[in-house]
Symmetry: C2
Subunit: 386 residues, 2 copies
């Protein structure tokens, strides 16, 4: 395990963080470019607020947890200044995207921009305490809670009442976000929120008869036999399970940690491609064709989040199955996603594991899952934890 730990640490500090430091900073307009080709060259200049927030979070977090490198803090401050200046509409909702110069391009239709903005300013406030950062983080968080049951607002295309499904993404992210913001929200608030989101994830979205979690369920948690209702996203479940394991540790609830570890392993078994290796992006619970044409692709975040979940599962519960799976997923991931020639990792592979999009960052891939996972695996496996 110590060899793994060192390998993940080295990849984080020698390859991945330097790639973003060197290639993503927009010195002219502020903020970050995230559409970077294989070599790190910018191929599109639009700025997606999700990814601006995630990169601010990442450099703040690494400065706090890995090493107080001045260039990392500078990078976080650089991104935060751009976000603060251009990122929000008049009601404080975060736009989905801006032009390079900061003009709004796409409206705040997506509450996950707000989630990562809150996470960014909360993390930055930890390393550079400021009333302004605190205010942005907390007011954004409160806005998320207010909007959580109808966050699509006018952009919601569902006809009211016919099939009122609930989505898994927001409760899942709130698990992680409440822990990330505990220093601002206070332990009491986290103690109050935690049981609610844990109940949503582990009871409402979890389907006991299958032992699996669905992306969309009826309001009472029952199965909806529709495209949305049958949809499974194994990587999403697996990532949520490490959030839950962390929450379980925070609440000293060993049974919860064990339950999350079991669901994670069952999902991995279910989502693993027995023919070509790797984890499918989407599956249909009943085995029907999915709506998503990209269902059989292998995505970076799915695989690196699985490595985190397996490392945590093994360290927290000692379950040997986690160790066996870790070896297997590690081998697949490092062989297929890590670029042996240029910096950072590929994001999108086809079912056979061949590179599908020749990029290191884009509209959805930024400076987030790879560095966070490298840190989490390293930090979980290093000597003093086992």
């Amino acid at each position: 395990m110590q060899e793994y730990a060192e390998m993940y640490r080295k990849e984080l500090v020698d390859n991945v963080l330097p790639f973003w430091l060197q290639n993503s900073r927009d010195d002219r307009n502020g903020g970050f470019f995230t559409c970077l080709d294989r070599t790190g060259k910018v191929f599109d200049t639009d700025k997606f607020m999700w990814l601006q927030g995630r990169e601010v979070w990442c450099f703040s977090y690494m400065y706090h947890n890995v090493s107080a490198e001045k260039s990392w803090l500078d990078m976080a401050l650089h991104g935060a200044a751009f976000m603060e200046k251009f990122g929000r509409d008049q009601s404080g909702n975060w736009y989905f995207s801006l032009t390079a110069e900061g003009k709004p391009l796409v409206q705040p239709y997506n509450i996950f921009s707000d989630c990562f903005a809150a996470m960014a300013f909360a993390a930055l406030d930890k390393v550079q305490p400021s009333d302004k950062y605190k205010e942005i983080a907390v007011s954004t968080f409160n806005n998320i809670l207010e909007r959580q049951h109808d966050w699509k607002g006018v952009y919601n295309k569902a006809y009211p009442g016919t099939r009122p499904l609930k989505g898994f993404s927001l409760p899942m992210i709130l698990c992680n976000l409440s822990l990330e913001m505990e220093h601002l929200l206070g332990s009491e608030k986290v103690n109050e929120l935690a049981p609610v989101v844990i109940h949503e994830v582990m009871n409402v979205f979890y389907q006991p008869e299958h032992g699996l979690i669905l992306e969309n369920v009826n309001p009472d948690g029952s199965f909806s036999n529709s495209f949305e209702g049958r949809l499974m996203n194994p990587g999403h479940t697996i990532e949520a399970m490490w959030f839950i394991m962390d929450l379980g540790r925070r609440l000293q609830d060993e049974a919860l940690v064990k339950k999350a570890c079991d669901i994670m392993l069952r999902t991995l078994e279910y989502g693993w491609d027995k023919e070509y290796g790797g984890i499918f992006y989407f599956l249909d619970l009943l085995g029907h064709p999915t709506q998503q044409l990209e269902w059989d692709q292998k995505l970076w975040w799915v695989h690196v989040e699985t490595l985190v979940a397996l490392a945590k599962g093994y360290t927290y519960t000692g379950d040997e199955r986690c160790l066996q799976w870790f070896h297997k997923v590690h081998a697949y991931t490092w062989t297929h996603f890590k670029d042996q020639q240029y910096g950072e990792w590929f994001g999108y592979l086809n079912r056979r594991g061949e590179v599908l999009l020749n990029l290191k960052g884009g509209k959805w891939k930024g400076c987030f899952h790879v560095p966070r996972a490298l840190y989490q695996v390293w930090n979980t496996l290093k000597a003093d934890n086992i």
Copy 2:
């Protein structure tokens, strides 16, 4: 050519139309099921208005142009009754989807539901003239013209003014729709509309320096260096070019027919996958990674519409390149898309031409492109035309 013509006719009347007749009719609720697995079994019961309209159009059209089979007219009337009863909101906009029973599921965010509804009732009115069908077709058509410049309405996520791109889809469909509705709109209206849509397609969206058509351009037709602006959809352009060739024939404009044929051939050359064969779904004009993860997949409609365009190009202009390409695309399409074991054709293949989704119909594939293309190729190539 006569052998081809007979092959396409036989596939239409012996395989494809019977498949939909046997499997898609919902006798309990009315309307059509379109989510059909490889064997024709229903795997999802939602009703997508696009596909309801397209199937009504198809059976009306075949009744009118191929043979007055009572079962075909019955099928069209059966679908039209369901559409008429449940398909529209109070303003006459067509919903995107309904439950099996006809309850609205997804709001009328998509004007293409309206386009295919207008086309359906216009075609049905040709074979079963009725003031009611005429009224639905014409009022829907007028509503499309009224909404055409802001058809996304409240569902538009673009921030006003920053990057006001125009999309290719609607002008392209209006080329075809105005011809399909000529008996209701009158020749004068078509003569008035035609130059406008032809100008849009052949001047605004066409980029002379590349000789290609883009999916989205600035309002003045210039290139926008953005994900949307760089996007090419070769199948879309090729399909539009046979609409333009038909309009060119209708207007007796030989130069227009020839120009459309040239653009079609250039697009096919550009979009053809030199490694595995078949036509790519999406490409980026500058060769950057696309947003669309499904960019390298091979889709049924792209290939069958290309066969139509090549047959028309050859018949209308005599260009030998059309004939050479026809042999090649025909061989790829019939080998990879036609199911040798069960009825109808596969819809979605991966880059290598292997079946990606084991379905014959779904949310976007219904009773439309395959039968229309089989009819068009047969009708274009048959003896009396050449």
